[in-house]
């Protein structure tokens, strides 16, 4: 191949070789590319869980009747509650305050009598509102447990009536309701964002800090070629890291992978293009390692975690924040990534997102070129 003998090709290869050397010289790169993905997938697979089971709940039975004992037993058997029974409310309240209990259920005096006379004595549930999500779940589960108990009682007495409407929910793509299936693809997005924006910003900023960037710019290679060749190793590292993540997610956490490798490659490559451009721009704009890392955290890591829609629903956010999510690249990755695992290759969903991510990448490169040209002038 004649072009491989051309001086331009040799120069480009030399830049790539230099960059690879720089990448591998520091063992922390290995940490970022191999250890961080495994750690994040593990944390989002095992530590972060939105499934509330066995909430520690206090129970005080003031009635001490056959009906109230039967209800208390129903709560004790329910998988959403871990019941701790007490004779008075006050000591349980102290535990609620300390955060050792998430709620207290009080069965009032006259509960059984109320059932017979059809003048019901309501149950009181005190929840720890400082954990709003758990409190809301607890109330919902308590209402469910009470309704189930009432229905069983009515059936025993032969007065039960079938409800007019019932729902038959079916969770598409995730019938086992695994929150892991939602969280692990999000973790992969964070890994890619970190390698793309953080590692790139850090290593490039170091070149500026030490003055070696000027040396590189004076080599006889065009600036776009120089920049693109410098990015090749990080692009490859990002893809390798994604591969490690996907393998770990599938083989260790049992996530299905219903799409194709090509589909995964297309969405990962377009996302990496956007975040690599972002990292490059951060380093060119700050030229300082410390400031670069702060910017990369602020514009890369945190938005990918909080504004991308994988942990928190974008539609539920206040309107101005929703607008802001449109400039977070991870927003355009998460739906595709979740789909490639759980649904398959949904090209009608992938293609618009890929186009937007490539446009991000193009914009960032354009800005970087201008920033570098200005430096030279």
């Amino acid at each position: 191949m004649s072009f491989m003998r051309s001086p331009g090709w040799h120069r480009a290869a030399a830049i790539r070789a230099k960059e690879w050397g720089q990448v591998w010289r520091d063992p922390s790169t290995f940490g970022l590319v191999v250890v961080m993905p495994l750690l994040l997938i593990f944390l989002f697979g095992s530590a972060v869980s939105l499934d509330t089971n066995g909430s520690r709940t206090g129970l005080v039975d003031h009635d001490r009747s056959r009906a109230s004992r039967s209800l208390a037993a129903a709560f004790a058997d329910n998988r959403y509650f871990a019941v701790k029974e007490g004779s008075a409310i006050a000591p349980l309240e102290a535990e609620l305050e300390a955060g050792k209990l998430r709620g207290i259920l009080v069965i009032p005096d006259g509960f059984e009598r109320g059932l017979a006379t059809r003048r019901p004595a309501d149950l009181q549930l005190i929840t720890d509102g400082s954990q709003p999500n758990t409190a809301a779940f607890l109330t919902g589960h308590a209402r469910g447990a009470l309704a189930a108990w009432q229905e069983a009682q009515a059936r025993e007495r032969g007065i039960a009536v079938e409800p007019a409407l019932a729902l038959l929910p079916r969770y598409q793509y995730n019938p086992g309701l695994e929150s892991r299936f939602m969280l692990v693809p999000g973790a992969i997005a964070i890994v890619m964002a970190m390698i793309g924006s953080l590692l790139t910003a850090l290593i490039m900023a170091r070149e500026y800090e030490r003055g070696t960037m000027e040396g590189l710019l004076s080599t006889p290679i065009s600036i776009p070629a120089l920049v693109l060749n410098k990015l090749v190793p990080y692009f490859v590292l990002g893809l390798a890291s994604t591969g490690i993540c996907v393998a770990f997610a599938v083989f260790f956490y049992g996530l299905p992978f219903r799409g194709s490798i090509f589909g995964l490659f297309a969405i990962s490559a377009s996302f990496l293009t956007a975040v690599l451009g972002q990292g490059l721009l951060i380093s060119a704009a700050t030229k300082n390692q410390f400031v670069s890392t702060q910017f990369a955290l602020l514009s890369g890591f945190l938005p990918s975690l909080l504004l991308s829609g994988f942990l928190f629903e974008i539609d539920s956010m206040p309107r101005p924040i929703q607008w802001l999510t449109y400039i977070v690249p991870a927003r355009y990755l998460i739906p595709s990534l979740q789909s490639v695992f759980l649904v398959g290759d949904v090209w009608t969903l992938f293609l618009p997102n890929i186009a937007i991510l490539l446009a991000f990448g193009g914009f960032f490169f354009f800005r970087v070129m201008r920033a570098i040209t200005r430096t030279i002038a």
């Binding site: 530590a47 019901p120 209402r143 038959l168 953080l198």
Partner: protein
């Protein structure tokens, strides 16, 4: 008192290094405030403004009533109608709606005959948390409509009256905002303190530092100054801003909160400093800090409750200074915690501070000799 002046001198030098750069100053002071506004508002586990699909093949009263109930819900933004279940499934696949209801042709007929009308619900399992909450909303609406169509004798029994203590309306912001004090200051303090020694080593000024007439401990204490101050200033700023801007009550003792912030800052700075003494370059320091900070945040109870974690991770979470600070933030802001309760969470943080700061000193001394 000469050791005190020596330490003050090195602390001053460290502060200059960090705060003399204008952009560093901006990122350290402005960005935490920006983060408080942005991420505090964004992090809600509530599910609102949802789009729901409807496939209606029933022409009777039951579907009419149920659709009217859906339309009246304040959590639902729009109802999208689809001719078939397949069209609905496709809309879910393309994320146009998060869920859809399928009303079968015999729905009203079954209800009229005293049987149960079954409504199919398709939900997007990719967003499983939101989908489960939406399923809860729909179930509640079906129960309400069903009771209008046919009152249940068992439903006239006792109900559960819920009282949410410390946060009556379960405003999610009352949870996130105090938590931000813990999370953002921890990120800041680790990233600043992790740089401190590593930077000198990378720039080659480490040997000069060693040549100064200072003991290693004195240098190290001086080095903690910027991270400690940046963290402390931001935490105090948050404590003032959160009640003012977001109306989150601060019912507990401000003094106890400040004392806790102080101990927390010691612990977190100690973690950052240990990383810094191990790192050879700024890159290592930063990545090391990141590799430690992320698990600390995810195991603090901020992203999801500690109660939901497996037991052995709960033990780890108990050694995490962030989980104790998070508990204190909620305890003092919302619950008016007593000194005894606050101290029960302060001492684990102090333990972490003692362990990490002495580790850093030992490592620093070992490397400087």
């Amino acid at each position: 008192m000469s050791w005190l002046t020596r330490m003050a001198a090195i602390a001053l030098k460290e502060l200059k290094v960090v705060l003399l750069d204008k952009r560093a100053r901006t990122t350290l002071i402005l960005s935490p405030i920006l983060q408080l506004a942005l991420f505090g508002l964004a992090t809600t586990l509530e599910v609102k403004n949802i789009d729901v699909g409807v496939v209606n093949r029933d022409a009777g009263i039951a579907s009419e009533r149920f659709i009217a109930t859906l339309g009246g819900s304040r959590n639902i933004r729009s109802l999208e109608y689809y001719p078939t279940t397949a069209a609905l499934a496709e809309a879910i696949e393309h994320r146009r709606v998060i869920a859809g209801v399928v009303l079968p042709p015999d729905l009203s007929n079954r209800v009229a005959r005293g049987r149960t009308g079954e409504i199919g619900v398709l939900l997007d399992g990719r967003r499983i948390n939101a989908a489960q909450i939406v399923s809860g909303y729909l179930g509640e609406m079906a129960a309400r409509t069903g009771a209008e169509l046919r009152p249940l004798p068992q439903a006239t029994g006792p109900q559960i009256v819920a009282a949410n203590w410390y946060n009556p309306n379960l405003d999610y912001r009352w949870f996130t905002m105090p938590a931000m004090i813990t999370v953002i200051t921890a990120v800041l303090m680790v990233s600043v303190s992790a740089q401190s020694v590593a930077r000198e080593r990378e720039l080659g000024t480490y040997d000069e530092l060693m040549a100064l007439p200072l003991r290693p401990v004195e240098i190290l204490v001086g080095k903690t100054a910027p991270a400690f101050l940046v963290g402390l200033v931001n935490a105090v700023l948050y404590t003032v801003l959160i009640p003012l801007l977001y109306g989150v009550p601060l019912v507990g003792s401000v003094g106890l909160l400040l004392l806790s912030i102080f101990c927390f800052s010691l612990a977190v700075t100690g973690i950052g400093l240990s990383i810094s003494t191990l790192a050879q370059t700024q890159q290592q320091a930063f990545l090391g800090g990141f590799l430690v900070t992320v698990p600390l945040i995810l195991l603090s109870g901020y992203a999801s409750p500690i109660d939901n974690m497996p037991d052995w991770l709960q033990w780890l979470a108990r050694a995490n200074p962030l989980s104790h600070m998070l508990a204190i933030c909620h305890g003092t802001f919302l619950k008016n915690w007593s000194a005894a309760l606050v101290f029960s969470h302060i001492w684990p943080m102090l333990m972490v501070a003692v362990v990490t700061l002495s580790t850093a000193t030992v490592l620093f001394r070992a490397r400087s000799e």
